[in-house]
Amino acid sequence: MATEVLADAQALRTARRRRALAAMEEHDIDALLLGREANARYVTGAQRLWTAGTRPFGPGCAVVRATGAVHLVSSWDEGIPDDIPHDHLFGITWNPGKLLAWLKDIDGLAEARRIGTDSLTPRFAKLLPRIFPSAALVDAEPALEAARRIKAPEEIDAIRTALAVAETALAAAVAELRPGVSEHHLAAVFMDVMARQGVTTPASQQVVWIASSPGPPSRRATATARVGDLVAFDAGVVAGGYTGEVGRTWPADPTAVDATTKDLYRQADDVWGRLLEACRPGSPCSVLLAAYEAAGHVPPPFPVASGLGLGFDTPVVTAQLPHTAAREVLEPGMVLAVTAQVTGNDHRTVFRKEAVRITDNGSEVLTSAPHWSQ
């Protein structure tokens, strides 16, 4: 983080916008109307206010393929790259009529035959065809996912930066782990150290949970780590728009780890070894689900792997989407958050998440946070 609000670096912007325009061409999309912040950031390189959680769709960013012009809702030019001139900015509005009038006046949009959106609401599904009567409204997510899933070298650097911040904050939280400490306090330490490094936006805010019960991960006012507990850390930050995530599980008291727990760690290591072995270019994503089966474990209920980038990227690999996993292929330039999780009969869980870059001939692990070792 700098001492002023900067747009993303030009090399990064250029690489991304080129990929986005190429994907538009390949998917025969003449113009994009984008509501999702990650997509808007991908094509604009503009830094806007970060908020948590899902947001209703609103077309606050437009891209016209014929001219390459980018238009954005922002009431000021701070954080906006200089290749988006002032007359391509539109002030924040609460009035859908004004927003639609702005879109209607954008050069090239009225002529677009196919306009892609990255989501819709019932209202915009009705309104947009009225102001662009000659255009077909199409789903732009497949094109944007295709563009975003392969990372430019500058993007990989950005992910490494985010991972370094996440790992430093994780280490600080782990250093505070001892019997009697609360989940709240460990999460608080993570947030503090994250922000002190100049990154004020977390990716996952669960951060920590006592992984010794059947309940969902949650921070409870009363939850304090006891001797014998396993404590899981899901450390994620958003730095420069890019997500870095790393997961570890530590015993609350390293001197009180019983044989069953040691065995659980061994099983998690085994799963992780098989997952890493499976991370090869050209393989279908289903190899990651198969790695769990081969190790004799059921994949966790959340994605086993998902792309890291501006937020979440594809592929998202989960047992709930088996056909998708069989169809999608690991490709050089993808960066994945890969999770190895093993749960014992007593609900105790060892959770481990690593960032893996798929290379031309194999993979590179980008995370290096220490593990508990026997």
């Binding site: 709240h184 805010q205 997500t243 709930q320």
Partner: protein, 405 residues
């Protein structure tokens, strides 16, 4: 009908959800919706009572709990990665708790649409809050022959009025925020960086039990003049500008704006601070002028007043040549399930819109007027109140230091 507005000191999740269920069913009946399909985080939280730590939007779009509500049912269906969340925490029956769904992907959207089709009666009028392309392609499976209508309108109508339990949880969210702000403000000194304020605030908020940070906290150093700030589309002040590692200097004028989530409620906090300095007489006068605007607005605030009554009061109490709030925002907004929700007052939706916004007992308002003297900066803060039949009650009592007596 007179509605007594109170803030429950011991808010109860199960009782809150029963109250919401009644409001939700009524709103569905009013708007002709037989079923709701809810994908948005705040809508799912409202309908089910589920709470979780909101994540970055990129992740939140993919790993999201989803809810389905049908008319005449007793409780919602929840689709979640963690079924125990539904059964243990929320007390939902087993047949209303389902595994995770992935409507963002073609395979997941189709599987989800088929499940919805089984839950929703044939021919039901379905409302939905979001239509990702993948789900839009298959929504005919559960809404044959008709495009779904807007579930945001249904939830919006239901959540407009807060029950005593809701006000109780909201006040806890506000209290956590202010208890975390207090040590942050006490630490403020020249040489600190903006991001260090964030570090202190987040640490304190999470220690106090906040579920999540909901926006990158704002500690904006205000220039004395608009011309010294960034270019803007409207010529008005640029705000909020993002936090950096900028070092704060003695006398810096900070406009603070932040909020957290707790138990499914969003808080909001806004004040003006000075770095290592006491306000000058002119700055004190700005604060007094701001107080006068707030008092003028509060004097007309009660159930039955319109948004336009409030904006007129603010303008009358203001000396300047401008409407005394940010041109790209509002004089006031609702708060609770989201950090800004209906009613919106003083937006660019216009005066006629404000005339139609009629306040009702149980609504929550955040008033955020400002005073600006170009060349001498200004004052801005936020007041959080609940509307009552004959006036309002405050939901916070954070001091205005270093301004005031």
């Amino acid at each position: 009908m007179t509605v007594a507005v109170s803030v429950e000191l011991e808010p109860d999740l199960a009782r809150m959800q029963r109250g919401r269920w009644v409001r939700l069913q009524q709103a569905m009946a009013d708007q002709g919706a037989d079923a709701l399909v809810l994908l948005g985080n705040s809508n799912v939280s409202y309908a089910t009572g589920a709470r979780w730590s909101l994540s970055d939007p990129g992740r939140a779009n993919v790993e999201r709990p989803v809810a389905v509500v049908t008319a005449d049912d007793d409780c919602p269906h929840l689709f979640t990665t963690y079924p125990a969340l539904g059964t243990l925490d929320l007390g939902l029956p087993d047949d209303h708790v389902h595994g995770p769904v992935y409507p963002e992907f073609d395979e997941g959207a189709e599987a989800f649409a088929r499940m919805v089709a089984e839950l929703v009666p044939h021919g039901a009028r379905v409302a939905i809050d979001e239509l990702p392309g993948s789900l839009h392609r298959v929504c005919g499976l559960f809404s044959p022959g008709a495009e779904p209508t807007s579930a945001d309108d249904v939830i919006g109508a239901a959540k407009l009025i807060k029950t005593p339990d809701e006000l109780g949880f909201l006040r806890r969210a506000l209290a956590i925020t202010e208890q975390a702000i207090a040590p942050t403000q006490a630490s403020l000194a020249p040489g600190m960086r903006q991001n260090e304020l964030t570090a202190r605030f987040l640490r304190a908020a999470f220690d106090l039990g906040a579920d999540a940070n909901i926006l990158d906290p704002i500690w904006q150093v205000m220039p004395a003049s608009r011309a010294d700030g960034p270019w803007t589309t409207h010529g008005d002040i640029a705000c909020p500008l993002l936090t950096t590692e900028r070092e704060l200097e003695e006398g810096d004028l900070l406009w603070v704006d932040t909020g957290i989530s707790y138990a499914g409620f969003a808080s909001d906090f806004g004040r003006t601070w000075l770095v290592g300095a006491s306000p000058t007489p002119r700055q004190q006068a700005q604060f007094r002028a701001w107080r006068e605007i707030v008092e003028a607005v509060l004097a007309v605030t009660r159930a039955g007043a319109t948004g336009a009554d409030l904006t007129r009061a603010a303008v009358s109490a203001s000396d300047g040549d401008r409407r005394p709030w940010m041109e790209h925002f509002y004089l006031g907004h609702g708060l609770g399930i989201e950090s800004a929700e209906s009613p919106f007052i003083g937006t660019d939706l216009g005066d006629a819109y404000d005339e139609r916004q009629v306040l009702a007992a149980g609504m929550v308002l955040v008033l955020e007027p400002l005073v600006w003297e170009d060349g001498a900066g200004g004052y801005r803060a936020e007041e959080v109140i609940a509307i009552t039949e004959d006036g309002w009650i405050p939901l916070t009592d954070y001091p205005y230091d270093p301004y005031g007596d």
